[in-house]
Subunit: 147 residues, 2 copies
């Protein structure tokens, strides 16, 4: 039970984008370098984010990607679901037919409650929150240098 690199990388890439975005689009190549993700791999993570309307892209010179919405309107639940698939932790939750016992299975309920709890946590964290946290962290480590 883990978040794959897809979800992790996409989240990091979005945060990186949010932090480096002013007017001009941000180069995939630069995000890849800063986040130490292979560019070829990152390209594939970006695609679904574009399709979902989270980021926009422009090709050609001076191209790159930009957030399609303000960061406070981008919840991590959306990002994670996009990259990790519809977190039905267990197949029978989304598709009861796979198991003849589904109707009367108490364990099935628990997996669904777990899913809901996870979504709740992720939904409560937006890209804006991440940006703020990141800046705080960087301030904290800067201060560390003076000690």
């Amino acid at each position: 039970m883990k978040v794959s690199t897809k979800g992790q990388y996409a989240t990091r890439a979005l945060l990186d984008l949010a932090l480096h975005q002013d007017e001009a689009p941000v180069l995939l190549k630069h995000i890849a370098q800063r986040q130490k993700i292979s560019l070829s791999y990152l390209e594939h993570l970006i695609t679904p984010l574009i399709a979902a309307g989270i980021i926009t892209s422009t090709r050609g010179p001076r191209g790159g990607i930009s957030l399609a919405r303000p960061p406070e309107e981008i919840g991590l639940d959306e990002v994670v679901q996009l990259l990790e698939g519809a977190i039905s932790l267990v197949e029978c939750v989304g598709n009861p037919k796979v198991c003849t016992m589904s109707q009367s299975c108490a364990t099935r309920e628990v997996w669904d409650e777990l899913r809901q709890a996870m979504m709740g946590v992720l939904k409560s964290v937006t890209l804006r929150d991440l940006m703020e946290r990141q800046r705080e962290k960087e301030n904290a480590t800067e201060i560390m240098y003076y000690i």
Copy 2:
């Protein structure tokens, strides 16, 4: 991001055990049949549960497995962690050295919060709760037949 069959099956097996346990130990074979899990596979899921002191086993004729503690003292967090491994959804949470950016990574915090939320949900559900839910469900479907 999902619960593997190991976690699912182990939970179902434990619930099955809890529901069918009176004095005599319950046969692995019967659990496997009722839960439609292959016996050979189930054997491997049982081993860590024994090692963790959740169930006890006796070999030979009239053997089988039994709960080692009352069901209200068996939380799903324990079961799931045992079978799925220490749910550090992301490697750098448990082992910050794997990523040079860990100290100042805001995303890392989120995965840890997510982990905590999940553990909280799972911890709040004991085998006793599952038993009660299961019995309710069965009553509910019985009533359905009369309609």
